[in-house]
Symmetry: C2
């Protein structure tokens, strides 16, 4: 058996530095130098055993990668540059320090790609299931952050890749669209953006509500991932491939609106309209698209 402080010391020795970090892991708080005049973006996401992963199936390094990538995907959705992160882990009793080290290495796998410095955290052992969080700090770096609230009537609606069926595996292995989100924001053409975590139908509703507009998507234009086809063929699955593409969560592609296409490989799926609500057109019928995507029931 080893302890919390052995693990912290190991992480500290393994941690990389970054220019902006004046004091990293090992004190009450980390100390960063923030570039003058640069906006600070901050958020947090958690992953929980039995909800966002299954510890009986997924290894600790995968789990660590996922929680960091969920946060990097938030950075992508704002078009910001990720800078630093702090993490917590609640380890079930008797999990062992090696498991904790693997979780950390997963964080590093994902964060290192974008030079994210892990500057602090909190490790505890408890009688519960594995729970992990990452809080991410990003900076605007000369590009205005893109919110959910800027969609205008007449804008096109776009996604950055095919959707649906992430539960077959992509929900653990998706690549956050950090560089693409940055390019989209820097193009000056994007009016509103979000990453698809709760499902297209629900995340588009978030944009509409924040922008006080409506949306019409064309069923035939929604790009369907092969995983959505595969899920739909499984015995007992009641959704069509299109329904998987519309409602499954954790695709982590970007969903955005723009008056003119940025020309960065995006796929147009519809248009912003004045009527509130989210609508889908198929074979000349227009019907309300219910947000069937993910919502935690309390």
């Amino acid at each position: 058996v080893s302890g919390e402080f052995d693990l912290i010391n190991w992480i500290r020795a393994a941690s990389s530095s970054a220019d902006c970090v004046e004091l990293g892991i090992g004190d009450d708080l980390a100390v960063l130098r923030w570039p003058a005049g640069d906006l600070l973006l901050v958020g947090v996401d958690q992953v929980l055993d039995g909800v966002h992963f299954d510890s009986a199936v997924h290894g600790p390094r995968e789990i660590g990668r996922k929680v960091m990538n969920r946060n990097l995907s938030d950075c992508a959705a704002m078009g910001c540059l990720p800078v630093a992160a702090v993490a917590t882990v609640a380890l079930p009793h008797h999990t062992g320090a090696d498991y904790g080290r693997q979780l950390y290495l997963g964080l590093r796998d994902a964060g290192d790609i974008y030079h994210v410095a892990i500057v602090g955290g909190d490790t505890a052992s408890w009688p519960g299931k594995l729970a992990m969080t990452v809080s991410i700090l990003g900076r605007a770096g000369g590009v205005r952050p893109i919110t959910r609230g800027g969609a205008k009537v007449g804008d096109g609606i776009y996604v950055t890749g095919p959707l649906g069926g992430s539960l077959l595996g992509r929900h653990m292995t998706f690549e956050p669209r950090v560089n693409l989100g940055r390019q989209l924001a820097a193009s000056g053409k994007v009016s509103a953006m979000i990453d698809i975590s709760d499902g297209l139908s629900r995340d588009l509703a978030h944009i509409c509500r924040e922008s006080k507009v409506g949306a019409v998507i064309t069923a035939a234009m929604v790009p369907i991932h092969p995983d959505a086809e595969q899920m739909s063929r499984r015995p007992g699955d009641a959704r069509t491939p299109l329904e998987h593409a519309l409602h499954d969560g954790e695709d982590h592609e970007l969903l955005f609106t723009a008056a003119t296409a940025p020309g960065l490989g995006e796929i147009r799926i519809g248009s912003i309209v004045a009527d509130p609500g989210v609508w889908m057109e198929s074979e000349n019928r227009r019907e309300a698209l219910q947000p069937l995507g993910w919502e935690h029931r309390l």
Copy 2:
């Protein structure tokens, strides 16, 4: 039954604003304006059911207060000004939105005292026990942050209040020493500081290790809280009141070193020495003080 987004909307409507917040709760990330040239301090702490609180005994508002106060105590230990926070909550299934609202109000109770803006978070429902985190952002605000690493041979060792027995209730209700920590840092006299969360013996060892020094404390000078006396009298309790004061965690008083006393009500308990290790003198005997305070076993 209500859902995650109802709760988020309620929190959003209830949230207060702050000058530095350009975009608060409700987007992928919050956006803050950071004062030019001001250092950014960041950290995170969690509270877990069965470890840091007992949900069968403690109410949600108390639990929310505790997790915010743990983070504010970290700000106190660095002498910084708390600015903003993001939070996560993992709610057991069927807990209900009202419980979630009470957790949030607890965060606000504690944060509002220091004008901490809660700018984001992540709420989920899961098949596990209640887990909550807060990540805090603070700023130096013209005062150099105090680390654990600055203690010098010959410095006095001080605490800001009586210790021990916090488990009788103070571990839920302590007041973080934010203003006092700030005054201590601004005095220019404090060489190293930490808040006592793991217990005096262990937290003093943290200072010694980071400062590459040793410490000698005088048993008769350690201020003992009445709760330590009371715990010691309980049937089956094997620790003396002094042992409770030395080793119990979650006092959240400040422990610091200084060449000359700042004169802010601090209590001297010993001196920094060159010999590595932590020692205690009592009745002309000097013996090694084992760090028996809290450590999570993995």
